[in-house]
């Protein structure tokens, strides 16, 4: 099996005719923030287009799941991560070589770049083979790298690089500075005077805290004094430096194209996994969803990835939610107090499905999600100068268009529409829209204040944002199937502080 891409088994199928712009629903679902956070620090790879293309087949999603699972294995992850880090370093060296002026300096940086490359490729080929990856993607890649490092073009490049590095490392010289005169000559085993001084003062140096050694800011470039000294050094060791010249001229195009493409594409996975690691450390879970065309979807202990990112950064707790649809259920009608997590629930539902369509693990303990063809969102925008009539009209036009485009495989997420009309109108319009949605058999989340939607029929599931029964004033951000059950009981303050006898017994146990 030949290797093409770590992202697609059949790139030509998946890439056909797809736009690469940011999908329309990104803003409503805060997916833009999520993708920004994922790609942060990896701008050089231009990863965002990868996150704008959802996959269209279960098999394509499976291909990525396999790769991602391999990368969750430290034996695979470590070499991949090391490899990409080294290539990053290599590019930095090449860029530096470009910037420098003195020839012997440019050549030294180029030499180091090639050394890093050889080391990266060789080490990766070994380690990846040893890790025995299970995925189709890494399996094919493993074969490619094995052949590449065995080829004579690579082995001779590697050997030559090492030899020249070793020659340069042998060079040792002395500089004698006396007033304005500077003499450069070979080193002839003159004794170390610093050591002598250090030994004499050792009695007073025990447990020294402050280090007075000055860190000299080492710019990569040289001043003219250093350059003059280096030129004299090259005269002291003429053969070593002429070999360096020849090597650089010969190996200008050493970088392999497939290696370079892999280096970029694998960042899609690394970026995503690195992003997840933050949440995992905070105790949150992720799972590989079962993605299928079944509409009895479910997810447990899931959360809004964008919101969680903020909360975790502030060390605040993240509230997880569960949802499921069974039998003929198709629509979540979400109601309840404001600031109770309704919008978050709607976003979570959309994010989950979208991330699943990228072939990524999703927030939550387990999930079965729907392989959609299109996703539409309609979130209330902040009111601008438009009058009430205008806004209602906009709402209706937008929903009409969506329903025109929608197919039975479409997901629709609506957040507080029809807020700008009378309740009676709103009920009437909502029922009409609901009929259309049910007719199309869409999967839908509908955040609404209209109870009639929630009680419409067996296809509609009522979800309610709930409050803490012990403290009705505080929001839990839990959205549950059942209606909130009653009022709070004031807890004894002592219980709150864990100062009852029983709690103390527990706390004082060491």
């Amino acid at each position: 099996m030949s290797f093409q891409s770590i992202l697609f088994e059949h790139p030509e199928q998946e890439l056909r005719g797809k736009a690469v712009g940011e999908p329309d629903f990104f803003a409503d679902l805060n997916l833009g923030q999520v993708v920004d956070a994922i790609c942060a620090g990896r701008e050089e790879y231009d990863l965002k287009p990868f996150f704008y293309r959802s996959l269209s087949s279960v098999d394509a999603i499976g291909y990525r799941h396999e790769v991602m699972r391999d990368l969750e294995n430290a034996d695979v992850f470590a070499p991949v991560s090391a490899f990409t880090e080294k290539l990053r370093l290599m590019r930095a060296h090449l860029a530096q070589a470009e910037k420098l002026h003195y020839k012997f300096q440019k050549e030294a940086w180029f030499l180091d770049a090639v050394e890093i490359y050889c080391d990266a490729v060789y080490g990766f080929a070994q380690d990846l083979a040893a890790a025995a990856p299970a995925s189709r993607g890494f399996g094919a890649l493993c074969g490619y790298f094995g052949a590449y490092v065995a080829a004579p073009s690579f082995t001779s490049l590697s050997a030559e690089t090492k030899r020249i590095k070793a020659d340069l490392a042998r060079v040792k010289y002395c500089v004698l500075i006396r007033g304005p005169s500077v003499t450069v000559r070979k080193y002839e085993s003159e004794p170390d005077y610093s050591k002598d001084v250090e030994e004499t003062f050792a009695r007073f140096n025990e447990s020294a805290v402050k280090d007075y050694r000055v860190e000299f800011s080492e710019w990569p470039d040289m001043n003219h004094i250093e350059a003059q000294i280096l030129e004299f050094v090259a005269l002291l060791y003429p053969e070593i430096f002429s070999n360096l010249d020849a090597y650089c001229a010969k190996n200008r195009n050493y970088l392999d194209a497939t290696v370079a493409v892999f280096d970029r594409e694998v960042q899609f996975y690394l970026a995503y996994l690195e992003h997840l690691a933050v949440f995992k450390r905070a105790g949150l879970q992720f799972c590989y969803p079962e993605v299928s065309e079944r509409k009895d979807i479910y997810s447990s202990e899931t959360f809004d990835l964008a919101l969680a990112h903020k909360l975790v950064a502030e060390s605040r707790p993240v509230v997880c939610n569960d949802f499921y649809l069974k039998g003929r259920e198709r629509i979540f009608a979400v109601s309840g107090p404001n600031q109770g997590g309704k919008t978050t629930f709607a976003r979570t539902f959309g994010q989950l499905h979208y991330l699943a369509s990228l072939g990524c693990p999703v927030p939550g303990k387990e999930a079965r999600l729907f392989l959609f063809d299109r996703m539409f969102t309609h979130f209330e925008r902040e009111e601008n100068i438009a009058n009430l009539h205008g806004k209602l009209q906009d709402d209706l036009i937008r929903i009409h268009d969506i329903l025109d485009w929608a197919t039975p495989k479409t997901i629709l997420i609506m957040n507080e529409i029809f807020t700008s009309t009378t309740l009676q109108d709103a009920i009437f319009l909502s029922e009409k829209i609901l009929e259309r949605i049910l007719e199309l058999d869409l999967l839908c989340v509908w955040v609404t204040f209209i109870d009639e939607v929630a009680g419409y029929g067996e296809q509609v599931v009522s979800m309610v944002s709930s409050t803490d029964p012990r403290n009705p004033a505080s929001r839990t951000f839990k959205v549950v199937r059942r209606p909130a059950d009653g009022l709070a009981h004031a807890m004894a303050i002592a219980e709150k502080y864990g100062l009852t006898y029983d709690r103390l017994k527990e706390r004082l146990r060491t």
């Binding site: 420098l100 300096q105 030294a108 180091d112 060079v171 040792k172 010289y173 002395c174 500089v175 004698l176 500075i177 006396r178 304005p180 005169s181 500077v182 003499t183 450069v184 000559r185 070979k186 080193y187 002839e188 003159e190 004794p191 170390d192 005077y193 610093s194 002598d196 001084v197 250090e198 004499t200 003062f201 009695r203 007073f204 025990e206 020294a208 805290v209 402050k210 280090d211 007075y212 050694r213 000055v214 000299f216 080492e218 990569p220 001043n223 003219h224 004094i225 250093e226 280096l230 004299f232 002291l236 303050i493 002592a494 100062l499 009852t500 006898y501 103390l504 706390r507 004082l508 060491t510």
Partner: protein
């Protein structure tokens, strides 16, 4: 070189992290008054007293004995102790005056220059110390001082200083600086090492007629300023290690003087305090720390109160050996808070290695000391007073250990008596089961009476003494809780003061012996 006057084998860290409840302890036990009494206006003495007392709970009984002996020496030879302290201060001030050249601290050349100056001044001060050691060492008996004087004689030998002088001369580099290097990253010079120049080894004939190593020479143009700068950087790279060694030596000697000053400051603070108390005729004694559950004392008084009052203070005598719970009830203004504070202060002073304000004092060591006092105002705004009280209690529980000691002063009274008593009982019962030592001043009759009715062997009940005529003696006596705390007395005193002997109330803190 180490002073080792606070610990047998390590330095005293003035900047160590204080216990998390340092502010509560300071406020509740009025520690600032104690530190002020030790400092007598010297801020440095104040800081040292504060660190030593607040961190004293970590000391083991060996450290306490070690300090008690050193303190005993200082109390008998205060003038010598102060003269050593003065040398340390002079050395520290002298170093501050050392000249830093314009870019001195950033360039090895400048660092080297300053280090040489500082070292010369330190040598003078070390010699002064040695003179004091030679003259007075015989008067000191403690292990700590004996080791200190022996260390001075051992470290400060003349031959060693002669060698240092020699190096200081050589480090002026009359024959030029020779530096070796290798090729580093990007073929830049790296691994600079200062070398002995051949001129230091070869004789004249070799220098003129001997084989010269092949080399290439260039001369810096007189107007090439950036070149001159580059060249001096190159020299600095060679001098880096030698400059470091000298500067670190200077630091080490400075830190020795700093440590000596800091550690002596604690004892000078104790000497200051003792001088004030003995002038008033207040007794002080070295306490006996114990590892058993012991508590017995005679004439224990509140040292802070004494420092603020002209008269002598009423002391208390109690034997509470084997008791883990001490409940204190009784009259308002009867000396309960003062008594509680005197316990906390004596415990902290004992564990810091100080004398205590009592004729005798014996107590078990604790590793943590907490105070839970009624607070006047709610600082948090959000939570109620009771909420705040329990919040602080919960923090204490987070930090409590089996060998902790907790002083409660009218805790859990911010709610009604029944609820307050119930919560106090649950908390105290749970803490006692972990063998935490508890001193509890309370007006919660239901709580105090309830515990008393349980007839626990490890509890003792004290009551502020009140004579039948309502007058207070400011002494505590053993006795069961009574149902009233005589708040009525206080009310009467303030509103209808004519009925009472007025002097008892206008100066409630005064006592007689």
């Amino acid at each position: 070189m180490k002073a080792f006057l606070m610990y047998r084998d390590r330095d005293f860290d003035l900047n160590r992290v204080l216990p998390w409840n340092e502010r509560a302890l300071t406020q509740d036990l009025e520690l600032d008054t104690l530190f002020g009494g030790m400092a007598r206006g010297d801020k440095f003495l104040f800081d040292v007293a504060k660190a030593a007392v607040l961190c004293g709970l970590e000391n083991d009984s060996e450290t306490i004995a070690y300090r008690q002996n050193i303190l005993w020496d200082c109390l008998r030879n205060p003038a010598v102790a102060r003269s050593i302290y003065d040398v340390a201060v002079a050395a520290i001030e002298g170093e501050k005056g050392s000249y830093w050249s314009f870019f001195g601290s950033k360039y090895p050349g400048g660092i080297l220059h300053r280090a040489i100056e500082a070292l010369q001044m330190f040598v003078t001060m070390l010699k002064k110390l040695k003179d004091i050691a030679d003259e007075h060492a015989g008067k000191f008996e403690s292990k700590g001082f004996q080791n200190f004087f022996a260390m001075l004689r051992r470290e400060l030998d003349p031959a060693y200083f002669a060698r240092i002088d020699e190096h200081l001369k050589e480090l002026k580099f009359r024959d030029g600086i020779l530096i070796s290097a290798e090729l580093g990253k990007g073929n830049k010079g790296a691994g600079y090492v200062l070398r002995k120049t051949p001129a230091q080894k070869r004789n004249l004939i070799d220098r003129v007629f001997g084989p010269k190593p092949p080399g290439y020479t260039f001369h810096l143009h007189p107007r090439d300023e950036s070149g001159a700068k580059a060249l001096s950087t190159l020299k600095d790279k060679g001098l880096n290690l030698a400059a470091n060694a000298l500067a670190q030596s200077g630091d080490h000697i400075l830190s020795f003087f700093n440590m000596l000053r800091t550690e002596l400051a604690f004892y000078l603070g104790c000497v200051n305090l003792q001088e004030q108390l003995s002038k008033k005729g207040e007794p002080t004694s070295f306490p006996a720390p114990s590892s058993e559950p012991m508590l017995a004392f005679a004439g224990l008084y509140d040292v802070c109160l004494s420092l603020k009052t002209a008269q002598r203070i009423v002391g208390n005598d109690i034997n509470a050996d084997g008791k883990e719970l001490v409940i204190i009830t009784g009259a308002n203004q009867g000396g309960k808070s003062t008594f509680l504070r005197s316990i906390g202060l004596a415990q902290m002073m004992m564990q810091a290695g100080m004398f205590v304000s009592a004729q005798s004092f014996q107590s078990e060591l604790c590793d943590r000391l907490f105070t839970h006092y009624k607070r006047e105002e709610d600082v948090t705004m959000r939570s109620g007073k009771f909420d705040e009280e329990l919040g602080r209690m919960s923090e204490i529980v987070d930090h409590v250990t089996p060998s902790s000691m907790i002083l409660f002063n009218e805790s859990f009274a911010a709610t009604n008596e029944r609820e307050g008593s119930e919560i106090a009982k649950q908390i105290v019962t749970a803490l006692l089961q972990r063998h935490v030592r508890i001193f509890f001043v309370t007006h919660l009759y239901e709580f105090a009476h309830g515990l008393c009715a349980m007839r626990m062997g490890n509890a003792i009940f004290l009551r502020a003494e009140r004579r039948p005529d309502g007058a207070r003696t400011f002494r505590l006596v053993e006795g069961e809780p009574l149902q009233t705390s005589y708040g009525k007395d206080l009310y009467d005193a303030i509103f209808t003061g004519r009925d009472r002997p007025r002097s008892e109330y206008t100066a409630p803190m005064r006592g007689r012996r």
